[in-house]
Symmetry: C2
DNA sequence: ACATGAATATTGGAT
DNA sequence: ATCCAATTTTCATGT
């Protein structure tokens, strides 16, 4: 998996290494170095000299990680052009992207480590508890929202946006359901309000609005009341014990 | 900067390494290995055996990177508890977080590399072109939005959200300005609509709404017209040549 | 290519 | 702790 590595490379070694393994493609290249990072594109930023981990993946994505946080200090989701060169005797990496026009420029002041890794592509990733899954589940079992509900449509696009679930209740009234997989905020309430108002205008029928989410913020609940809309508690993930509940097999050293 | 590294560690060596360098704190630890990753918390996910780079930062954040993309396959912004142990003879890392209750579980099947890095904290990061900066600039020079405009408030919180810029125009009418640092979408139009409607209710005065952004999508412009709101072109970053315009110093090898 | 909206969003700021 | 809104959001998806 480790294809190649150089510790404390000289400027020339670093450039040669990057040149070889970036050109080859296929490899994930990491540089651990003191460097300066400059970004210019959708915004602009400058990072003074500091220690960073630069990660270049085979798909052309680039990220510069500092000592904290999940989010990189600088990044580029895609690069169309990667160049390595010398500037004032310092190795410089230019990562360019067209559309949008963006540039990340990294000057390596002192490099501790450069390595090329072979990460085979992997498959088999499953995510549970997305809003999409929640929507499917509720479309199949609308009684979880309220008894007697009949789902007419999912992801129904109208001019002011898309309605998550469009339904008719036991008494024949139209119902607009807005789903949130996490805590619902005021924004969700306003979204629902907009749909309900528009559907009333379009159909001339009485329309009820339901916000379905696991929880709701206090201000959002207040706004919901004012707008005469309803909240319904619905969880994205069925409650169950997390994987930690298998202590028998786990032995700390 | 490279504190310690072991290539092709045995299970025992890996556990000992993690135990030492995670306990010590301060270090950024990376494991390159074939592993299985399991997540359970706000959602749930399973990643089958595959090659990944696991990054554990000193602040307790964890991320698992695959062969592509800026976004990790699995992550945890914060961990309150990190444990390493053996399960069925396999090294396992448990990263737990309270509030929200979350768990990432990584089983290392075959480890190619484990390393501990010393990344000194860095200062000196400057970002230009944020919405906050745009707001400051426009508050100082409101004529960039329209002549005769007087800014009354910035980030004015009303019950349905925060108004970016609240102003009065040359004729004495109230103006609500919604700013976007990038292309404005329908969502921004709805936001503005919400504020304008609410301010009209609260004041009883006529209120104009202006969406200020560098560009706007076609559907958003249409929605803006229907709602009788205005668009004003304003750029977040002053136009200038990107750093690439210094070819004289750059010599590709 | 453009537009839309979700996300285990993350992160920072205000209350 | 809670809530809200920006983000170089990224990313998948539909048109």
């Amino acid at each position: 998996m480790l294809r190649d590595q150089v510790l404390d490379p000289t400027h020339e070694e670093l450039i040669a290494f990057l040149d070889e393994h970036l050109r080859a493609g296929r490899a994930l290249v990491q540089v651990v170095a003191e460097c300066e990072v400059l970004y210019h594109g959708r915004a602009a930023s400058v990072a003074d000299a500091g220690d960073y981990v630069v990660m270049l993946k085979a798909d052309g994505s680039l990220q510069v990680h500092g000592y904290k946080g999940v989010k990189p200090v600088n990044w580029q989701p895609q690069t169309d052009d990667l160049r390595v060169g010398l500037e004032d005797g310092q190795p410089v990496l230019l990562a360019e992207r067209r559309s949008p026009e963006e540039l990340v420029r990294i000057v390596f002041l002192e490099t501790a480590l450069v390595q090329a890794l072979d990460l085979r592509e992997h498959a088999g990733f499953v995510l549970m508890g997305s809003e999409a899954e929640m929507q499917r589940a509720l479309a199949r079992a609308p009684e979880l929202i309220e008894p007697g509900l009949t789902v007419l449509d999912r992801e129904l696009p109208i001019d002011v946006g898309g309605i998550d679930l469009f339904a008719r209740d036991a008494l024949g009234s139209l119902v607009v359901v807005e789903l949130k997989r996490a805590k619902a905020t005021q924004e969700a309430v306003h979204q629902l309000e907009r749909y309900v108002t528009r559907v009333r205008e379009l159909t001339g029928e009485p329309v009820r609005g339901v916000l379905a989410a696991p929880t709701i913020t206090k201000p959002a609940l207040a706004a919901l009341g004012r707008a005469e809309l309803a909240f319904r508690e619905v969880t994205a993930l069925p409650a169950c014990e997390p994987a930690t509940a298998q202590p028998s097999l786990f032995e700390p050293p």
